[in-house]
């Protein structure tokens, strides 16, 4: 089994989330090389983590966010992810708008698309609020 633990600290006033995204990209690239992941698994895992972490850095900060802890475990062609943060309560399963992906071009809005991609690309997504922290757990597998 391949494991990695990441800590993304919230720094007030940081204009661009470059550091957080680099931490995610590097960890996934390291695991991808070590276990010879298909490109689609690396891409999906990266996208899901980016959307969730940027959401938390953007909206979680109102709740006194200090950081985000990410646990990654890869076994049997499946990446299991656990994300814990101490920001504002946010359950992506119910708190994000659901975009209508069938609307014509001029009626399309981008709101909610990130979380929609997360929900579509992940498996067994589960949320709980415990000890003033958001706990998210899900799995990512290669595109079938």
């Amino acid at each position: 089994m391949l494991q990695k633990s990441l800590r993304i600290s919230y720094l007030e006033g940081t204009e661009k989330p470059t550091d957080a995204l680099l931490i995610i990209e590097k960890a996934l690239n390291d695991m991808s090389k070590a276990a010879d992941w298909p490109i689609s698994l690396t891409m999906r895992a990266n996208l899901i983590l980016e959307e969730l972490v940027l959401n938390t850095l953007t909206y979680g900060s109102v709740g006194g966010l200090t950081g985000i802890d990410i646990e990654l475990q890869f076994q049997d062609n499946k990446l299991s992810v656990q994300i814990i943060d101490d920001g504002a309560e946010f359950n992506p399963l119910v708190d994000a708008p659901i975009p209508d992906t069938n609307l014509p071009l001029q009626d399309r809005a981008i709101g909610g698309l990130g979380v929609f991609l997360v929900k579509t690309m992940s498996q067994d997504l589960a949320y709980k609020r415990e000890n003033n922290r958001n706990h998210l757990q899900f799995n990512v597998v290669s595109e079938s």
Partner: protein, 109 residues
Amino acid sequence: MEFSHDRSDEILVINASGRVDGSNASDFLDTLQGLFEPGDQQIILDLGGLEYISSAGLRVLLMAAQNLDKDNKSFSICSLTDSVSDVFRISGFDQIIKVFPTVDAAKQG
């Protein structure tokens, strides 16, 4: 990200490669908008070298597509990698933006 472009016969072809995410999406938008000229009738975005796109990058493509559509310009995307194509399909962007396998196919419309 890296960019190059070619303009001939009122057709602008832009090549964008690398990664577009939440850290550089605003630069992506600025670059695209800086390249558009009033005389361009057809704009083709060649994403053959794009390895990664998140919703931040999709937001840029949606804004560009909506603005060019309002101006009655033709806008299409071509040469998507499998990973980016996956994101396009799930988000329904392949239904609102014309996608072609090659630049030549995009020029034919």
